[in-house]
């Protein structure tokens, strides 16, 4: 049902916001097809097959492993009562506090030739046996899996918690085994949550720059960054980006489609959720052992090493007073970007959910473009815009904040949309009938109801901004290094001890945000 509405100032505003958010893509498309295409043709033949295979196989591989880990952890935690359950409930969200490139540099240290793992293994087996190199598909797979499985865990856990038990009981009453019930009833029922989490994971994997470049695994985003920084070949970078955008858009539409399908599964009436089954001593022990291993690999060991290195750096006097500045820069940038994104995102999400005219929906969809455009490319488009059109702002933090905003607003928009959809329009209409004006209605009726959802969106965006790397590298003002940039500069020289203090600080600063995220009841759609 499409309603035609007249252009209100609010819709003009959201049109303006959407136009701004889609600007980088427009610019990239323009530069991809202007000029000489022959050089790009060479790239097509030599690099493309490798990049395509690498990117797709990594995305598929990580999807598979994160689904396995995420679903099984979420299932066990929601369905069984065992010792330590309260801890694991939020413990598995902690890996989200570690930026992918920090995990990557820790794993290159651990798994490198003659590194601690290989030495231990050789001592243990009393041989010269080699372990697989981390600079490979396996390395990238392990790091990205450990870094992103919490997304699946979070969404799957929420889905299992809000799950109506009657379906399973019906299946079992008609003679299905527990195993059959799980595969044929429980899993299909949480499909929307799984699709939503795959959306997060796959986009994260294909747009990741830091981890793959430290692990020297050539994916699209890495190649694009190289095209931009190693040569002035913006055209090839733009073409590669468009390809990546196309890939991501297909994915985005799939996700939207699945979401529509998900409406089927909602039942009315009271939802009865499962009561966790008590476990035996042995089961409890086994669960804790396997959870412990996973947790150590994704969070415990990395943080332990970071603490150890930080202490070494501290005693060597390598931790200077400049760290205060780096902390301030990181927090200031991320908080500003998250706040600005929330303010700009509100009209978009609000209009699209309340007056879903073609224009409003298109504006909202347009805003999602930023997420699929690789960070370095959007950053360069902004750089061009600001040097050519608005030079007065060039070289200020403002440009960097806009880059964050364009890239991460979509992540927040998802949560904002979901929150707004849960408020029944009747409430707003009632307020309006009582004589409240538009803004007042929003402030006094709508906003208090969506406050939690919006805060969750803010946190998510804050968290992502704290970890952002490529745009920061390209756009930071002089002398305005963030924690992430410091880690990058030191880690790419393999100066582990010097990279550790800023890395540990990022982890510490993002843990509260991650913790709050884990408390939120995530629901897909």
């Amino acid at each position: 049902m499409v309603r035609h509405t007249r252009l209100t100032p609010l819709s003009l505003l959201s049109l303006g916001i959407a136009a701004f958010l889609t600007f980088p893509l427009a610019y990239v498309t323009y530069s991809a097809f202007t000029g000489d295409l022959s050089q790009a043709g060479a790239l097509w033949n030599t690099r493309l097959p490798e990049l395509l295979t690498n990117t797709i196989s990594l995305a598929v591989g990580v999807s598979f492993t994160t689904l396995t880990l995420g679903i099984s952890t979420a299932w066990i935690i929601t369905r069984y009562q065992f010792w330590g359950r309260a801890f694991w409930d939020w413990g598995f969200v902690l890996p989200l506090a570690i930026p992918s490139f920090v995990l990557a540099y820790i794993y290159t240290y651990l798994l490198d030739t003659a590194g601690p793992v290989e030495q231990t293994w050789q001592w243990f087996t009393n041989s010269d046996a080699r372990i697989p190199s981390p600079y490979s598909f396996t390395g990238a797979l392990v790091v990205m899996t450990l870094n992103t499985f919490p997304y699946v865990y979070l969404l799957a856990r929420a889905a299992f918690q809000n799950f109506n038990l009657s379906f399973e009981e019906a299946a079992q009453a008609t003679g299905a085994t527990r195993w059959e019930t799980f595969w044929r009833v429980s899993l299909p029922l949480i499909r929307p949550a799984l699709v939503a989490s795959m959306f997060l994971v796959v986009l994260y994997v294909v747009s990741d720059f830091g981890a793959v470049s430290l692990l020297r695994f050539q994916t699209f985003t890495y190649a694009i960054y190289q095209q931009i920084t190693g040569r002035f070949d913006y055209q090839s970078a733009a073409l590669l980006s468009l390809l990546l955008v196309g890939f991501a858009l297909v994915f985005l539409f799939l996700e939207r489609w699945f979401r529509k399908q998900s409406r089927f599964y909602q039942t009315s009436g009271r939802v009865r959720t499962a009561t966790p089954k008590p476990c035996s001593m042995t089961q409890s022990l086994l669960i804790n052992l396997s959870f412990g291993l996973l947790f150590m690999a994704a969070f415990g060991l990395p943080v332990f090493l970071l603490i150890q290195w930080t202490l070494t750096a501290w005693t060597n006097g390598d931790v200077g007073t400049s760290f205060g500045t780096y902390i301030f820069n990181s927090v200031f940038l991320s908080a500003s970007a998250a706040t600005a994104a929330l303010l700009l995102g509100t009209p978009l999400a609000y209009l699209a959910s309340r007056i879903p005219s073609k224009l409003h929906v298109a504006c909202l969809q347009g805003a999602y473009i930023g997420y699929v455009l690789p960070g370095p490319v959007a950053a360069l488009a902004l750089l061009m815009l600001f040097t050519d059109v608005i030079p007065i702002l060039y070289g200020t933090v403002f440009v960097l904040i806009l880059a964050y905003l364009i890239h991460y607003l979509p992540a927040g928009l998802q949560a904002m949309e979901a929150a707004l959809q849960q408020v029944h329009p009747n409430l707003e209409e009632a307020a309006r009938n009582l004589g409240a004006k538009g803004i007042r209605t929003f402030m006094q009726v709508t906003f208090p109801l969506v406050r939690k959802g919006f805060f969750g969106a803010w946190l998510l965006m804050f968290l992502l901004c704290m970890k952002e790397l490529p745009a920061t590298l390209l756009l930071r003002p002089i002398g305005f290094d963030t924690l992430a940039v410091r880690i990058w500069l030191e880690a790419s020289e393999e100066l582990y001890q010097l990279a550790a203090p800023p890395a540990l600080l990022i982890v510490i600063l993002t843990i509260p945000a991650v913790f709050l995220l884990s408390k939120k009841n995530w629901q897909a759609g």
Binding site: G230, I392, F398, F447
Partner: protein, 351 residues
């Protein structure tokens, strides 16, 4: 205070906070806008690893009282940045890890001549641009590093030998984006012609396979650990590694010394004065310091590079510049050959 409470009550905590932070944001943008640095500041874009340049800049700050604002990134990346920024660049000087990027910047009219009398008197002509818009600060050789337990150095005579199939799986090379690789291949192209350069690139690509590294340090490390037996790096990375681990089984190998051969591949890290520098006197002061004996000694001793100022001695641990023959191809050619060589590297699909 009362007003704030009222506003909070009226709008709710969260909108109030967002309005407040927007305000803070706007103020900070307004403060940040005129990124004007006071006199007595010099803004440096540097493509060198911070560890190799920061100590020298710190020393300059302490002795002169001039503030240095440093932005570290890749050399080519910074040429791109200068190119995009044009007249609005805040940078006064541009430091790079090799001459090609400087010459490229000069050919794009991003640099201006350095008008310091000391330049012409202290630095050999080979190490500076014809119009003195950039000058070399320290020399480096692109040499072979080999594992002394695994390789007999007498079997290698030329850098080109590493492209033969016998080194398959034993060689480590820098990534396609490395300015050193581009410069080295350009030198091969200039002295041996297109066909040899092409075979060289193809050969090292096949021999290196997955052993492609972003940093010289990592290549030296891989050779020292015996992961590969040879690598191609800048000489000082070998000596820096040896300074830390005197027992590491690695050594440098200077090749192509035979009569009529191409000679060892020499390059310079250098500095250019940007065309739109806003603090020319301070920039001159910095350049004068960097080519003075004090500055040059730091490059020679801390970094183990070759000083360009002939009055400063090379570190005794590294081979004296007089003990080998360097390639005679002019460094300015590096910029001209850059585009063709990058296209070739890309066409051959080096990683």
């Amino acid at each position: 205070m009362k007003m704030i409470t009222q506003i909070v009550r009226k709008f709710g905590t969260f909108p109030f906070l967002s309005i407040l932070s927007t305000f803070v944001l706007l103020v900070s943008v307004i403060i940040g806008v005129p990124q004007l640095y006071a006199e007595g500041t010099v803004v440096v874009y540097s493509g060198r690893a911070e560890r190799l340049i920061k100590p020298v800049l710190d020393h300059f700050e302490q002795t002169t009282g001039t503030t240095v604002q440093l932005l570290t990134a890749g050399s080519t990346e910074l040429v791109n940045r200068l190119r995009a920024e044009k007249a609005r660049t805040p940078a006064d000087v541009f430091i790079t890890n090799e001459a090609g990027a400087l010459e490229l910047a000069r050919s794009l009219h991003l640099l201006q001549p350095i008008r310091l009398p000391a330049v012409a008197t202290t630095i050999p002509k080979y190490f500076r641009a014809p119009d003195n818009s950039w000058i070399g600060l320290s020399g480096r050789m692109w040499v072979i590093v080999y594992n002394t337990n695994m390789v007999d150095p007498l079997t290698i005579h030329s850098l080109l030998d590493l492209a033969t199939p016998s080194w398959k799986g034993k060689l480590a090379i820098p990534t396609a984006n490395s300015e050193y690789l581009q410069a080295g291949a350009s030198m091969v192209l200039a002295s041996k012609g297109e066909r040899t350069a092409n075979e060289f690139l193809q050969g090292i690509r096949d021999n290196a396979g997955n052993e492609v590294y972003g940093k010289n340090r990592q290549i030296v490390d891989a050779v020292a650990k015996g992961k590969v037996s040879v690598g191609i790096v800048n000489h000082y990375y070998i000596f820096r590694h040896l300074a830390k681990n005197p027992k590491a089984p690695i050594a440098p190998l200077i090749t192509d010394q035979e009569e009529g051969g191409m000679g060892a591949i020499m390059n310079v890290a250098g500095i250019g004065l940007t065309a739109y520098a806003k603090h020319v006197p301070a920039a001159h002061q910095l350049i004068a310091f960097l080519i003075s004996p004090t500055g040059q000694e730091m490059f020679a001793h801390i970094n183990k590079e070759y000083p360009v100022n002939p009055t400063v001695k090379t570190d005794p641990k590294i081979p004296a510049a007089s003990s080998f023959r360097a390639s005679s191809i002019p460094l300015t050619l590096l910029a001209e050959l850059r585009d063709p060589i990058i296209q070739e590297i890309q066409r051959l699909g080096l990683r």
